[in-house]
Symmetry: C2
């Protein structure tokens, strides 16, 4: 039996991994800080656990004895996560968790890294080639975990992959983040202030992000793997699409928000490892994914909240 | 008086620089291997000169004594230019030309480099950051000239810039190159065999390329400058646009041509120096540029050749 422990299981990405794991016959154990609301698939064993508490990880691993680990949990509070000191606590917590997993005989782990580990001035981020030089404590902390795992993988004794996530969007996103905030402004009839929008970014629907992680967990591919679309999309074209869908292009304020001279003109992933070695490609087109996100916000704002089932 | 010598003046890019130089009150002297056909602007002094002949450069410079130099001439034969030994002759010819220009008191030179100088595995090519590691003799030879000019600029005594060109399209392109060959196939009702088309490239209309070079010549910006759009466009979307314009999407054969595993998934320029320091942006949109190129080929194939005047 494949028994997986998922951390951050109700988070923006983790929540979408559960059904897919159940469908692939994993026995799913989910760790969360707070018990989940309705809408999660049946057949999951839930644990309320704060992984930052030093003794929790080993107790949890002892209780479950998972063969597989899918680690999404981290501090991700919008506007704060990049420089919050708690990033360093998450380095410790993640290392404790993986060591306990190894000690209990775990065989395969996949952990969530970030494009913030790269020197983003390089723009096109290759998992094989691009220098790693984080500009934030968040990126530094993710890179620190990866460095330990990559260096100690043989001694830890389990197979592992490190999925570097790029730009996400989808239902349940923090309302202040780009896609959500533009959709909310447009739906509420308020001006949507944006930058000039000439920057290119790599967007992936959170359901696809989760699917890629589950696919990766199910493979034996090791090391760093970009989890992304590989498709450069300008912020201008993204918000213009949204405004077109809502029918309110008049509300877009391109150029209203200044852009830092340091802001990278391009952050796009090389996805050749993901496509060729992992054998995975996105299911959502950008258009259909944005449309679904828009419909979720319409429900959220005007119909008393979401009633969707997690797919 | 600003007196400019333009080499490669009837070439794919050079031909578009002449009118713009005349309009900016340059006294224009144009060197070509063969006397030009009709259709070039008046007020230009033409010279038939083979710059690969060792004594020609100094004789030409002595006769003209230009204050400015715009050097486009190089070996560019489609299918052969990347590895042809004559690339090395062009290194010598270019160095001879620039030394003669310096000796005769020239003050400002702009020369055509290439994105082929970069390590293209990096995908996003920054004139400040991306390693230079050519994969071809063409790129190596261009880089060799740049290296000498950059290292010896003070001793040569003139101000210079090195414009790195990316992917070009427009009228007068070799019929076997991407845009021209797809347009020709579509117009002739023949299948247009393409690769999967997932690669992103940076395309600029040759008129814009020439305009950027003239703008750069007229500035005092020094060193390497990418001459490009900064916009990643997939080959798939490019050829799909063309098929839509011709109304023959049925003729596209995406995936019919295999792609080498070494082929870079992205080759796109960082254009911040061009936009901010040189202060130049493209005039042609991709759509209007492709449409104009298509119309030129319709004229060429079905109406006995072009009658256009060079703008």
């Amino acid at each position: 039996v494949k028994r997986v422990l998922v951390t951050g299981a109700t988070g923006f990405v983790g929540r979408h991994s559960l059904r897919q794991l159940v469908d692939r016959s994993y026995e799913v154990h989910a760790a969360v800080r707070q018990p989940p609301a309705l809408g999660f698939p049946a057949g999951i064993t839930w644990y309320t656990a704060d992984l930052l508490e030093p003794r929790i990880a080993s107790a949890l691993i002892e209780a479950i004895r998972p063969s597989h680990l899918l680690h999404f949990a981290w501090y991700t509070e919008h506007g704060k996560f990049l420089e919050a000191p708690v990033n360093i606590d998450w380095v410790e917590a993640t290392l404790r968790l993986t060591r306990a997993f190894a000690t209990a005989g775990g065989t395969r782990a996949v952990l969530a890294g970030s494009c913030a580990e790269y020197d983003l001035a390089h723009g096109f981020c290759s998992d094989a080639l691009t220098p790693l030089r984080p500009a934030s404590l968040y990126g530094t902390s993710k890179l620190a975990v990866h460095t330990v795992l990559a260096g100690a993988a043989d001694r830890l004794g389990f197979s592992h992959a490190w999925g570097r996530v790029f730009f996400l969007y989808g239902p349940h996103e923090h309302p202040a983040r780009l896609v959500s905030s533009v959709i909310r402004s447009l739906l509420l009839g308020e001006p949507a202030a944006c930058s000039h929008g000439g920057q290119f970014r790599d967007f992936l629907h959170t359901e696809d992000v989760a699917a890629a992680f589950v696919h990766l967990l199910n493979s034996d591919v090791q090391g760093p793997i970009n989890i992304a679309s590989g498709v450069p999309v300008s912020i201008r074209s993204l918000v213009t699409k949204l405004a077109g869908m809502v029918g309110r292009p008049d509300l877009l304020r391109l150029g209203a928000v200044p852009v830092s001279p340091d802001e990278p003109p391009m952050i796009v992933a090389d996805v050749r490892r993901l496509e060729k070695e992992v054998g995975w490609q996105p299911q959502w087109s950008l258009e259909s994914g944005l449309q679904a996100t828009l419909e979720w916000w319409q429900q959220e704002l005007f119909a008393g909240g979401s009633t969707e089932k997690l797919a």
